[in-house]
Symmetry: C2
Subunit: 601 residues, 2 copies
């Protein structure tokens, strides 16, 4: 339910083959669809026994799980385990006697002060509950896990996280987490070496309750929706943490710290803080910097006392995923004028260098994620990810993820297709399909003019895979919004996009993107190819770096503090820039010299 | 089950009227009892349908509930509400706008810093979850409840406990709690005036799982016993808190802080920290000073974020009830050499003045609480609380609690009875009953020599109420243990009990005690009557004072730090002192000049 059960997205359409149902809304279905038995599952009441067919297209693929190999993550600094606050100490206490009846907790504090100069250690009830048994089981030798300080209390006091019987100094584990609206990532980190020793990813369990953040916020506002969404995402993370622990043969109880990045809505839902105000004017979050808390408070399946540190966001639509990305991409340390962009349902972008940063977010709509497009789909097996159109006969060839028969078009496929249609002349610079071309691929369909990318006999669905005029319109609006964001951002600081030295692309979107195509449709600024860097998941990488180093954690906070947020809905130049960008590649061709040259040639 | 279901106390005896049972142990039952159908409920397995009669004697009276009037508690200081850290502030925030999209939490922090100079405020997730709605419901005017500092972090930072919509400055509530092994007390305190506006008391719900601390520790060590005992005591406190709140027409959510006193075992059980090591050599606690924690962590039904502050104890058998008592009785501020004593199943005693304190505890056994004595009972309705014996004809008269027919003898009744038997010559100085007396009241019973206090026709049970030679032996051992404690304590610092200027008696025991009787049997040192002060419940009073004043809270910690603990089981003079005290009043009559004079006269 991409729309969260509001009857708006049409993605839960099913075929009622037998029996009576009552359709509350059919706004996303044509009369022909309804006649054929289609109904929106979220809008339909069953009135008796029914037989329902679930169309295969949207069954979720688990392609993410395929790549499980462990990558060595390159760091911009050498790992020094004393630069992070998690510690293990072993200690042997003099046993109590009738001459020294000091209580267990004071005895441990006394000896930690004497041996390691640790003072004023704090402990919670759950740790103290383990203390007596651990000390006696280990015959008065114990290993303590201590966090010396936290980002919000750099002076300490140290916090006792665990106490284990005997000497257990061989390992120390922590985790970096990215909570994406679509996908969650968990990296299990060996704090002895600083290495990532397991990487796990899976779809966010909330997806079935709404595909974008707005749908989730609406879902959270009803009944126990907020608690349910929290339970779902914590459930996903717990599964990933358990898989990672199993892969390394450890218990999840041995994971003693978790650093979390994610967009503002995801962080709110993760902590069960209502995100309601995020979607309402004037779009403020409840909390940009959530205080640290012990994992037990939200049921995260690591050590119950493990500190959970959610990185800070700066605004409703520029969250911790972006501050983490700015730090992990190196943007905050460069002297080059840099544009950082993370394109998903929302496009978040940051302009600046090591001395200043300005950010904005614009709603691109879900077109780049394959939603709101007739044959759109996510970038999973069966998705056309790249297209080539022969400018002579307008015939199409394409590449499909997983080398299967095609079932639809994902975001990069749509961008590639639009770019090819433009350069081959299938659409004009306004995006209108040229119905006069001599090819069967251009035709009038039920949704108006359309271009056939794959014929029914080639496709996995047995239907022609097409892109319609309405789809193109959606894509044009999406790319215009992103580019207008870039333009307003640059203009707001008196710069031009031509002055940008490098463009850093974060997020999953960049993985399959063809930069030349993206420039040709005017989605990305017209730069030489080597100005672009695809950074992968900069959010989890930022969480990982903040986990490994106090300095990096401090940088994320500094970035959040120094970054200026530009609210586009309060900016009266955005609409003009948006309209100017509603052309291929743009009204102002001087901004796209390489495309202009190609068009002439 | 005073003994916690070990078959040792005989208090769970029931009559099996029909059906088959298997008795595992009958050690507390006579052959006649067994023949009459008696069985120990805790030691008996039912082997089919049975009819069981529960004898009426031990049905718990709820006499405590009768006295519900609110007493004005006299304080040794004038209450100044700025001397305690709990605060309410009202604040009006500028609402967010597209020009000021600061998140709710930063906005509140910013304005609290601006208006009240409050900086670095910490908040937990549960409070932050309430923030957005509270601010908007109150149209950006809110009332915050803040604890500025805590005993263990006098420098702060301040902690946000609650946020309420609108201006709600009219009241501020907190509670002082005493967790006794037998009885729990809750005082509801209006922090605006410092007054106690409701006092509630009831039996500790753990009583059914063992009547003394040792039985409870054993119970806690089995299965989920620890969690069960915690649930029981928290359940009792929650009922008392609800009653107090209802009496003042408030919600328990408005109670924002709780200070707790109690003996070490009770504090361990309250926080579900295993008390196991308390009963095993070398008798150490897990934690003497439990860190503060929010009420939600143990399910205490006050505001979930209310700080729970358990006062510190100093040893397994000298707990927070004693440190609180030393402070609230004024012992820690006096220049007079003072003896503080709290007599229950254990007798805890402290000797010293404002510059030094030494404490010990001795196991008196349960005789003074009416247990381990054939016709013993607790100080509830039907208990004989004072006895007079005519030295001519050895006839007895007595006073009964509640002016009912007598059902047994409570602690003060037993002390009074023993004293009268001694001064009338029914027993000699060794406590032996003089079988040669011309009275029907002295006779040989099934348990050996005995004295009849009340005849069957006068009693509520239809049986003679007697004291046996075995009972007297138990009482002699109990009083000898207490007095030996006093002696060892004084001797350990090179003083004599005759130098003690005042004796402060805390706890419920003192309420019904006749000092002259207690001196005559050698339980209390021989002093003029005006040296003795009965302080009532010094434990809850200490919690109350620590709640009202940072200075008083600091004093409790200082007392815990300065007090020396003397372990009697490691002291080789205790046994000698105990043996010397196994006489009426004592082997060394020079220590009891007034009794010696009476014996002569």
């Amino acid at each position: 339910m991409p729309c969260g059960g509001q009857g708006r997205c049409g993605r839960c359409a099913v075929v009622v083959e037998e029996g009576a149902v009552r359709r509350r809304s059919t706004q996303r279905l044509s009369p022909e669809d309804v006649a054929a038995g289609y109904a929106l599952a979220c809008q339909t009441t069953i009135e008796g026994d029914v037989v329902v067919l679930i169309p295969p297209q949207e069954r979720i693929e688990r392609r993410l799980k395929e790549s499980k190999r462990v990558a060595r993550i390159a760091l911009p600094f050498a790992y020094d385990r004393h630069e992070q606050p998690l510690r293990k100490y072993s200690i042997t206490l003099p046993p109590p006697s009738l001459q020294d009846q000091t209580d267990d907790w004071s005895r441990l504090q006394r000896e930690l002060a004497r041996c390691y100069n640790l003072r004023g250690i704090q402990a919670s009830l759950p740790v103290l509950r383990k203390l007596g048994r651990a000390l006696r089981e280990g015959d008065w030798t114990a290993t303590v896990v201590i966090e010396l300080d936290a980002w919000d209390r750099p002076e300490g006091p140290p916090r006792l996280i665990d106490v284990l019987p005997g000497e257990r100094l061989e390992s120390l584990w922590a985790a970096a987490v990215d909570i994406g609206t679509t996908t969650n990532h968990v990296w299990l980190v060996d704090m002895m070496s600083g290495e990532v020793l397991s990487q796990q990813a899976d779809y966010n369990g909330q997806i079935a309750r709404g595909e974008d953040v707005i749908s989730r916020i609406i879902y959270a506002s009803k009944g126990n929706g907020l608690e349910e969404l929290q339970r779902l995402v914590v459930g996903t993370l717990n599964r990933l943490l358990a898989q990672a622990a199993q892969e390394r043969g450890i218990s999840t109880d041995e994971i003693y710290k978790v650093v979390v990045a994610g967009n503002s809505t995801m962080i709110h839902l993760f902590t069960a803080i209502s995100p309601e105000s995020i979607r309402l004017m004037p779009f403020v979050t409840a909390v940009n910097q959530v205080p640290t808390f012990p994992a037990r408070e939200i049921g995260l399946a690591v050590n119950p006392e493990a500190t959970v540190d959610c990185l800070p966001g700066i605004a409703s639509y520029v969250g911790a995923d972006i501050t983490a990305g700015v730090v992990s991409s190196g943007m905050c340390s460069t002297q080059d004028l840099t544009l950082f962009v993370d394109i998903g349902t929302n496009g978040e972008m940051v302009l600046g260098d090591c001395t200043w940063l300005i950010a904005c977010a614009c709603s691109a709509g879900p077109a780049f994620e394959g939603a709101g497009v007739v044959h759109g789909m996510r970038a999973t097996a069966g998705a056309i990810e790249e297209v080539w159109i022969n400018p002579q006969d307008y015939e199409a060839t394409y590449r499909v993820i997983g080398d299967e028969k095609p079932r639809g078009l994902c975001g990069s496929g749509l961008i590639s297709l639009l770019s090819e249609m433009f350069t081959a002349g299938v659409v004009d610079k306004s995006g209108n399909i040229n119905l006069g071309l001599r090819t069967k691929r251009v035709r009038r369909g039920t949704h108006g003019p359309e271009y056939v990318v794959a014929w029914a006999e080639e496709s996995a669905t047995g239907e022609d895979i097409v892109i319609t005029a309405v789809d193109i319109d959606n894509l044009m609006r999406a790319k215009a919004a992103i580019y207008a964001g870039f333009s307003v951002l640059a203009r707001s600081v008196g710069l031009s996009l031509s002055e940008v030295g490098q463009v850093l692309i974060g997020g999953a979107f960049g993985q399959y993107l063809n930069v030349r195509n993206a420039i040709q449709i005017g989605l990305l600024p017209d730069k030489p190819f080597d100005c672009f860097q695809f950074m992968g998941n900069t959010s989890v990488r930022g969480a990982y770096m903040a986990l490994l180093s106090r300095e990096m954690r401090r940088r994320v906070t500094e970035v959040a503090q120094m970054m200026t947020y530009l609210e586009l809905s309060a900016d009266n130049t955005f609409f003009d820039e948006f309209n100017a960008a509603l052309f291929l590649p743009h009204t102002d061709l001087s901004q796209f010299p390489s495309v202009a040259a190609m068009m002439k040639g």
